[in-house]
Amino acid sequence: MKFGVVVFPGSNCDHDAWYALGEVLHQPVEFLWHQSEKVNGFDAILLPGGFSYGDYLRTGAIARFSPVMRAVEQFARGGGLVLGICNGFQILCEAGLLPGVLQRNAGMRFVCRQVHVRVETTDTPFTSAAKSGQVLQMPIAHGDGNYFCDEATLAELERHHQIVFRYTTPDGREDAAANPNGSLANIAGICNRERNVMGLMPHPERAVEAALGSADGLVILRSLIESLKRRAAVSA
């Protein structure tokens, strides 16, 4: 089992993701340069946070055209597990692997703080180890995390239980005050219909040690690891 952390020019949470998977969770993990055209040999791909290509034009808009993204798209269509965090989530939306877009925060400012999200479904490889309705504390750090999509898409997301996380109060109540960026329906993270691609704005890789404020992100990364093990067992 091997994790790949994609490095775009301008990625700046790549080391953090590598550290969380490799040093904290002791998983085999390698960096994947944005120009690599293959992702063979990797079991899960992680698109880290940062400002890929400077996020000029629009967040994730340029990264979406990089050689590695073509490979990641094939990987995803083949059922491979892809996790996009922050800028990674933005890239997945731009690439069309996830529906909707991430707009400028409602407050028009970059926001860095600890937030709480409620697990809306445990039926994903990224939340299988969580309890349904469990509230996780993780940090956000973004200027463009305001999720939006049209009504039809939202209905689709609801119908197929693709909304994975919603911003809530610490005790799990969903209200405007708990929404840090104006996201539609307090959406913090979603997955695709096939449930093998997930994107979220909060940073699970920054929440893997209590000393840094929270270890709740482990729930997500451990779910991912367990899911890969199950897959390996099945194919074996």
Partner: protein
């Protein structure tokens, strides 16, 4: 033959900011007339900003040595040994004038510049702090106008001796706000400069307190632009902005201060220096293309005071690209690891000029470059423009002949320009060619090191004729509303609105985020250790007494670091002053240096580098002298770091006071004998106590008074307290620590409640001092700690060993926050109501107003 397109005359030299003497010196060095390009080169290298010509003679008095110091002043950054084979590179720099002319880009490029200073040493930046100074962002010294209304105040504070003048600022503040128009919706950038200046001047005249609405609106926009600029650059680059401090004083309305401190880590053997070696080695230009931006940034922006015309200098402000800098960082660190790089220096102030002549000079060699090979953003740039451009995100390096390909390959991988533009020569000359024609030929060492050095005249400013001092209120009065107003004053209020715009967590090392402790704490991955950083400086105190004020800046920064459990190990500084051509400014500077030198020597904190920023004045009005100190400390066991938050109900809250003289011995039955030190009783000297309190934040915010003298400083007391705090933390004997500073004991106690999760405090104090002095006095060498009942005796015992007094303040509780003083309840309120006044103040001031119209 030398190119001479424009005839150089003494007048032209004067326009370049060179004096007749300096021009004569140039002729002597060259043995001929300089050409236009050479004149430009000399003018930037000999500018105040680059040559330190007015400060050099004074800076020599700073202590710079210590066993932990690997690199003192003179390199791109200071470096200290932090064990485990690692080194920490850190330095502070100012970007004041650019941030006033163009707040967003000015602040952004300030961050970019100091980050390059760090990674050019081979160190990866892991933290940034910002020390910011702005003019007032609210009418009235405090944000609470009601308090400044006499009748209102009377009804609250009974009985309270008052003089009519006591309220003058308050009433002027109220009236000015009453006449507030919508004028501030006009952008200061677009509008004529002189008007802004006059408004700013007026505000300074009204100091403290009442400031006209137009100035307030502009100050808010400058603050907003600076904060967004810092966030834009640091967040995108991927370095956490973990702390700093902000102050608001009328004197900064026309001249805000943006000081940025950056810290980086490297393996000792991977450190790089900017010293050219090896005749024939290739000189390689890397990074962004050279454009016409920032020409004369250092000489014209940073080395001259402001006038009405300064607005026309906006083109002199550089434009930053954090994405490019991030690529440059990764490429440089990767290229350095090839081992093919001999020397490297970033192109900051004076761009290509300073990097080439300084690297050559340090190596005792020469450098020859061909400008035609320099990557250019626009065609037909002249030699003069290319040599003086301050385009950002550029580096110059010297590689090993024969291995240049290894270096070029790395930069190609990161999509960056990397071009061989010259070579190291034996002749000690900086030789600049443009299309194979020599356009400049100057002895590198003379240019870099033999610039003018001035022993400028010093003269103490005229003493304040009739200073108005605070009249203390009667004992036992309820001070709750004054306390609430103090908590809401911009200087005291929570800075969350600012630091939430910074990514303070990226790189996952931030153990103590902004607002959690007195210092920012970042762990060093792969070791047990953590580093703590704090920056401090108080312009008001330095104006009243630059010597004491500077000592207090050192003491508070060191105390803050110690409160996090770290042992202070080294310091950097950023010295912001007015025009060095004014004897009273140079006197302030000289006194401040003496104060820093004495304090750093006493506390054993060597200065490893820093930056001097002169000419911080507009239309002849100088800012308050503002030396800012950044102190670096180390926590041996990161898990023993301390925050300011109270941790558990019923914990004891103790005031540790290093300012002690004598002691007594208590016999406590089973516990045996206990030696107890006694704090020095300041109430015996009423006049000096009154003068000291008149310079406090309370005096300014509540009484509209800024006079008297800074608190007397006792360095021995500070040293005792610092040693004790470090010992208590490393033994795990205390739950929290928070130093007593702005706003005094009452504010310190409240902040420890706010930082906790829902905890409060019941305090019972006795004091011979007047109530307001006891609660809000800002004397140093003090900190509060919270202690579990089990550890109480041990803490008292350890404190006695360090000859520090322990005063029991009260117990951590829930519910009402109450302070009793000499048996009377002087402050009582629910924590949430106080917390809201404190945490929401900046947001209410800044989110409400129409900042966006500023763009």
């Amino acid at each position: 033959m030398l190119e001479t397109e424009i005839k150089v005359t003494p007048e032209l030299a004067a326009e370049h900011g060179l004096t007749a003497e300096e021009y004569a010196r140039i002729q002597k060095i060259l043995g001929r007339e300089p050409n236009f390009t050479e004149l430009g080169i000399f003018s930037v290298m000999w500018s105040e900003h680059c040559s330190y010509k007015s400060s050099k003679v004074h800076l020599r008095r700073l202590p710079t040595r210590g066993p932990q110091v690997l690199q003192g002043p003179g390199e791109n950054a200071g470096v200290v040994d932090i064990g485990d084979g690692l080194a920490a590179a850190f330095k502070m720099e100012s970007h004041n004038h650019p941030s006033y002319v163009e707040p967003f880009q000015g602040a952004a490029t300030g961050v970019g510049g100091i980050l390059r200073d760090i990674f050019t040493m081979g160190a990866r930046p892991i933290a940034v702090l910002d020390s910011l100074r702005f003019g007032p962002i609210s009418s009235g010294a405090s944000g609470a106008k009601a308090l400044l209304n006499p009748s209102d105040e009377m009804s609250r504070l009974k009985p309270r001796p008052t003089t009519p003048s006591d309220f003058s600022t308050g009433t002027s503040a109220t009236s000015s706000s009453a006449t507030s128009g919508s004028t501030h919706s006009a952008s200061f950038v677009g509008r004529g400069f002189s008007r802004d200046i006059s408004a700013a001047q007026q505000s300074a005249a009204l100091a403290p307190g009442g400031v006209d609405e137009e100035t307030i609106a502009r100050n808010r926009r400058i603050l907003d632009g600076v904060v967004r600029g810092i966030a834009h650059y640091g967040n995108c680059f991927g370095v956490p902005t973990v702390g700093g401090e902000v102050q608001f004083e009328p004197g900064y309305s026309a001249n805000p201060l943006v000081n940025v401190l950056a810290l980086g880590i490297a393996k000792k053997e991977d450190l790089f220096f900017a010293k050219a070696r090896g005749v024939g080695n290739p000189v390689i230009y890397v990074g962004a293309k050279t454009g016409r931006d920032g020409i004369h940034g250092a000489s014209l922006l940073a080395s001259a005071e402001f006038t009405e015309e300064s607005q026309q200098k906006r083109p002199n402000v550089q434009v930053g690209d954090p994405f490019m800098e991030k690529l440059l960082l990764e490429a440089c660190l990767e290229a350095m690891h090839t081992g093919a790089i001999v020397a490297i220096q970033d192109m900051g102030a004076a761009g290509l000029t300073s990097t080439s002549c300084e690297m050559a000079s340090r190596g005792g060699l020469g450098i020859e470059i061909e400008l035609a090979r320099v990557p250019q953003r626009e065609p037909s740039m002249t030699a003069y423009e290319m040599m003086l451009s301050e385009s950002q995100e550029r580096m110059l390096l010297v590689a090993e002949r024969g291995r240049e390909k290894e270096v070029l390959k790395v930069f190609a991988k990161w999509g960056l320009d990397a071009v061989e533009i010259g070579r190291v020569t034996p002749d000690g000359l900086l030789r600049v060619l443009h299309r194979a024609k020599i356009v400049a030929e100057i002895p590198a060492h003379a240019l870099a090191e033999e610039g003018p050095v001035y022993q400028r005249p010093l003269a103490p400013p005229a003493p304040v004729a009739q200073e108005r001092l605070v009249e203390f209120g009667a004992a036992g009065a309820n001070l709750t509303e004054n306390f609430r107003a103090l908590l809401a004053a911009p200087a005291i209020a929570s800075k969350r609105w600012i630091w939430e715009q910074y990514d303070y967590m990226v790189r996952t090392n931030t153990l103590e985020p902004p607002g959690a402790g007195d210092a920012a704490v970042v762990r060093i991955k792969g070791t047990k250790r953590a580093l703590a950083l704090a920056s401090d400086g108080n312009g008001r105190w330095c104006r009243l007494d630059p010597f004491i004020g500077a000592q207090l800046a050192v003491a508070e920064a060191a105390r803050n670091v110690a409160c996090s459990g770290a042992k202070p190990m080294a310091a950097t500084n950023c010295l912001n002053f007015g025009s060095p051509e004014k004897p009273e400014v140079m006197w302030q500077f000289s006194r401040a240096i003496d104060g820093i030198a004495e304090a750093c020597t006493a506390l054993e904190i060597p200065i490893t580098g820093g930056n001097v920023s002169f000419y911080n004045e507009t239309l002849g009005r100088s800012i308050d002298p503002t030396p800012v100190l950044g102190v670096l400390g180390m926590i041996e066991d990161a898990s023993r770091g301390l925050g300011m938050a109270f941790r558990a109900e019923d914990d004891y809250v103790l005031l540790l006071d290093g300012d002690t003289k004598d002691w007594l011995v208590l016999t406590l039955g089973s516990l045996g004998e206990l030696k107890m030190y006694i704090p020095v009783d300041r109430s015996t000297d009423a006049p000096s106590m009154k003068r000291e309190f008149s310079s406090s934040e309370y005096a300014r915010t509540i009484r509209g008074i800024e006079s008297g003298a800074p608190p007397t400083v006792n360095l021995a007391a500070e040293k005792r307290l610092i040693a004790l705090l470090v010992a208590l933390a490393s033994d795990g004997k205390v739950q929290s620590a928070h130093d007593v500073s702005d706003g005094g004991l009452a504010v310190t106690l409240a902040e420890s409640c706010f930082a906790s999760n829902g905890l409060s405090l019941r305090a019972a104090l006795t004091s011979k001092e007047p109530d307001e002095a006891a609660l809000f006095g800002e004397r140093g060498a003090r900190a509060i700690v919270s202690v579990t009942p089990e550890n109480l005796a041990a803490v008292r015992r350890i404190a006695a060993q360090y000859e520090v007094a322990v005063v029991e303040v009260g117990r951590v509780s829930r519910g009402e926050f109450r302070i009793e003083l000499n048996g009377q309840t002087v402050v009582s309120a629910e924590v949430p109501s106080l917390a809201d006044a404190w945490s929401g103040a900046l947001e209410r001031l800044l989110s409400a107003n129409d900042l966006r119209k500023a763009e």
